[in-house]
């Protein structure tokens, strides 16, 4: 007879693995990716391939030759970072900038802190913000959705609805006058607007989010509370002066709010672990996003808002504890 194995309990394990969770998120992003390919054509495909491939290559090289450890590419986290970075970029960005952004995302934001699980800031957002600050012109010339009709070199670019609104309001225009110059809410919902690859198509991003909640990859807390905060805050402003402040629906459907709320703020590593902590985190992001959008210099603020709140996560985890069993004695 063979020798029996001994190990402490439990002796059975669940089906979830890091790989299955990461691939679940990638799967949830695919419909929105397909939409960005439909709207932006070859550029979208090229940018995503470049970002995913360079993130994976950088992670492999750094793990193998700098950290001298067994590469863990198969867990899918580098590929996900690459995809999320691509979703945050305009589809006509020069490839070398994409590669540079990937290097910052993986090399600086992730691996220098010790790799998966140890990074305080969302790597894809660090990559995006690095590019935004370094190359503001290229990073804000958004191709308009023209599909495969034009080739990469001469796409028509323009401002995003958020930027149009911001400039208009700054120039003394009213919200209702500006609303005529941007796509309708329905078009925004389907994604027919200029913008980064993944910030369009709210509908498909929401479908992916529902899929992730149903598969228990993420919980509803961060996305719902974050979107609720933005809706409430902009709703109050809009109610106070509808001509100076755009309505909540406009704010929810434009910019990277959906992408940020559902896919970036929910990043396991850089979000709090207790439900109460998640609520604080989500409310913080919502408030900061609206403050930047409405009162700040940038038309879009969710990337900064998430990165700022990322910095508070260790503090939140330290002080916000889950409700312990037996904390309140109830006599029924």
């Amino acid at each position: 007879m063979n020798l029996l194995k001994i190990a402490p309990s439990p002796h059975v394990f669940g089906k979830k693995s890091t790989k299955s969770l990461m691939s679940g998120v990638i799967l949830a992003l695919l419909p929105a990716w397909a939409a960005s390919v439909y709207y932006f054509g070859w550029g979208a495909i090229v940018i995503s391939l470049a970002a995913v491939a360079s993130c994976m290559v950088f992670e492999y090289l750094i793990q193998r030759y700098l950290m001298k450890q067994e590469p863990t590419l198969t867990d899918g986290s580098a590929a996900l970072t690459g995809l999320l970075l691509a979703f945050n970029l305009p589809s006509n960005l020069p490839i070398w900038m994409v590669v540079l952004g990937s290097l910052v995302a993986i090399g600086v934001a992730k691996m220098s802190f010790g790799g998966l699980g140890n990074n305080p800031f969302n790597p894809a957002l660090v990559g995006r913000v690095f590019l935004l600050i370094s190359f503001p012109v290229q990073m804000t010339s958004w191709p308009l959705p023209t599909g495969f009709t034009t080739s990469g070199a001469d796409v028509v670019t323009g401002a995003t609805p958020l930027a149009i609104m911001k400039e208009g309001l700054k120039g003394g225009e009213t919200v209702s006058a500006m609303m005529d110059k941007i796509p309708s809410h329905m078009e925004l919902f389907y994604g027919h607007m200029g913008g980064s690859m993944g910030e369009i198509a709210a509908l498909l991003l929401i479908i992916g989010g529902i899929y992730m909640i149903a598969r228990k990859i993420i919980t509803w807390h961060i996305p719902v509370i974050l979107l609720g905060t933005i809706a409430a805050f902009t709703g109050i402003l809009h109610a106070v002066n509808p001509e100076a402040y755009a309505g909540p629906l406009f704010h929810l459907l434009t910019g990277g709010v959906m992408l940020g709320a559902i896919y970036m703020a929910t990043d396991y590593v850089t979000s709090p672990m207790s439900k109460k902590g998640m609520a604080i985190f989500a409310i913080g992001i919502g408030v900061i996003t609206v403050v930047i959008r409405v009162f700040g210099a940038y038309p879009e603020g969710i990337s900064f808002a998430i990165l700022i709140m990322n910095a508070f996560v260790p503090l939140i985890n330290q002080y916000i504890k889950p409700k312990r069993f037996g904390e309140e004695v109830k006599h029924g």
Binding site: L4, S17, T18, L116, N118, Y268, R324, F325
Partner: protein, 442 residues
């Protein structure tokens, strides 16, 4: 909506392979090894020596204190040795070894099948009889039952909760007992109610045991005050605190006992043993043991005499399959992997789960991705990721304030972890050390 406990929990594959197998009486073994410590508390003191003749039901080791239990011979025959023998924990423990000769029971035991429903004994006599009969919690914790029936002054018990949850995957011994011995078990429940002087009893059963729910409900409906609570399937609902939360919506505070919220919990198997002790004068020397596994040809439930070597149970269930990796004493979530098949069945053996080599492998550990799934599933509202890290770094004061001692070692965190981090292994280490520190402080 079915009732369940509020916080955390997981749902492992149920795999109740032996649910349809009626309880069979296992043939008598040739030799038995009966450890004198089969319960929580002080070990019993041996009363027999080499060469003594013993009968079935005879006390062979007497209780070593209030929190302790008598040990009875499960067979008749000759004592060959009283010595240290490796038991299911892997450590040598004092045991009585008996060569079986015939099956001669003490005359005081009523061996008939007649159901005795009238309870003539007084409450004090019931507690005394339970103590003399060596009855311990048969759900696996083996806490001496008479202790739970002796309510300290100043405390009142309002409700008796019966644990028929059997939330461990694979195990079916309680299920079969509730199905086949519902009449006896309900008499046992009434005896326990009398001993505790309560008028209300709730029997919690998960709804993956519909037949048991039906049979117990049918018998229980004849008496006032006994209800059956069907519960939603969720592990670890069989934990005392979780069961009380599910069945009567009361939360036992940290460090407190069910008694502090006016409840006492007993296992349904214990209720059956109490029936036999009080109505039939039969001490606890046999129990139902599930023998199961995916590769096993005949997953079974056996009525087994304490002291029977486990390999005899496995042979009766079709023999040890090839490529067996682990044999688990208990369920797969909280049971212990055995290192030898020569060890004996004890009062706490609820089942043997035989796992294939491929099922017995742990996945390689990878980085914690802070997904918080361990926090979500912890039924005690703890943070397993944090506790395991603190234990690894030996930060014991922080471990204590983070309530490591509340951990019931259910294993839900290790079960769920996508990075396959053995969280509970580290937490156990930390608990152990913190427990030592706390005891030293007293």
């Amino acid at each position: 909506m079915l009732k369940t406990f509020a916080k955390g929990g997981v749902h492992p594959a149920e795999n109740k392979l032996s649910a349809k197998s009626a309880i069979e009486v296992l043939p008598l073994p040739k030799k038995v090894v009966i450890p004198i410590a089969q319960h929580i508390g002080a070990p019993a003191k041996p009363l027999v020596k080499k060469g003594d003749e013993v009968k079935v039901g005879q006390v062979i080791a007497e209780s070593g204190g209030f929190v302790s239990a008598n040990i009875h011979s499960s067979v008749s025959g000759k004592v060959t040795k009283v010595d240290n023998v490796i038991d299911s924990s892997g450590y040598p423990r004092m045991s009585v070894l008996i060569d079986v000769d015939g099956d001669e029971w003490l005359e005081t035991i009523d061996r008939s099948d007649n159901l005795v429903t009238d309870i003539s004994m007084s409450a004090e006599d019931i507690v005394k009889r339970v103590m003399e009969s060596g009855i311990v919690g048969l759900g696996g914790a083996t806490f001496p039952s008479h202790v739970k029936l002796s309510v300290p002054k100043g405390k009142t018990v309002e409700v008796l909760v019966l644990n028929g949850v059997e939330c461990e995957p694979y195990l079916t011994s309680d299920d079969r007992l509730m199905l086949e011995k519902a009449e006896e078990m309900i008499v046992g429940v009434r005896i326990l109610m009398k001993a505790l002087n309560v008028s209300r009893a709730i029997i919690g059963i998960e709804n993956n045991k519909p037949e048991s729910i039906k049979s117990v409900t049918k018998v229980a409906s004849r008496y006032t005050g006994i209800e059956v609570a069907p519960l939603k399937v969720k592990y670890p609902q069989g934990g005392e605190k979780q069961l009380l939360k599910a069945a009567i919506k009361r939360e036992v505070p940290s460090g407190a006992l069910p008694l502090d919220v006016g409840a006492v919990v007993h296992n349904v198997g214990t209720a059956f043993a109490v029936y036999e002790a009080v109505q039939k004068n039969k001490p606890l020397f046999e129990r139902v043991v599930t023998v199961t596994g995916k590769k096993l040809s005949k997953p079974s439930n056996f009525m087994v005499r304490v002291g029977t070597p486990v390999n005899q149970l496995i042979d009766a269930a079709g023999g040890l399959p090839e490529n067996t990796g682990k044999v688990i004493n208990g369920g797969p979530m909280m049971g212990k992997a055995l290192n030898s098949l020569d060890v004996a069945v004890t009062k706490g053996t609820s089942g043997l789960v035989i796992m294939d080599d491929t099922e017995s492998v742990r996945r390689a550990e990878s980085n914690c991705i802070k997904c918080a799934k361990c926090v979500d599933v912890c039924p005690m509202g703890l943070e397993p990721h944090l506790l395991s890290k603190l234990a690894k770094k030996q930060i014991h004061d922080k471990l204590e304030t983070e309530r490591v001692m509340d951990c019931m070692e259910c294993g839900s965190c290790s079960f769920e972890c996508p990075a396959s981090i053995p969280l509970l292994d580290y937490i156990r280490l930390g608990k152990n050390r913190v427990g030592q520190i706390m005891r030293a402080r007293k």
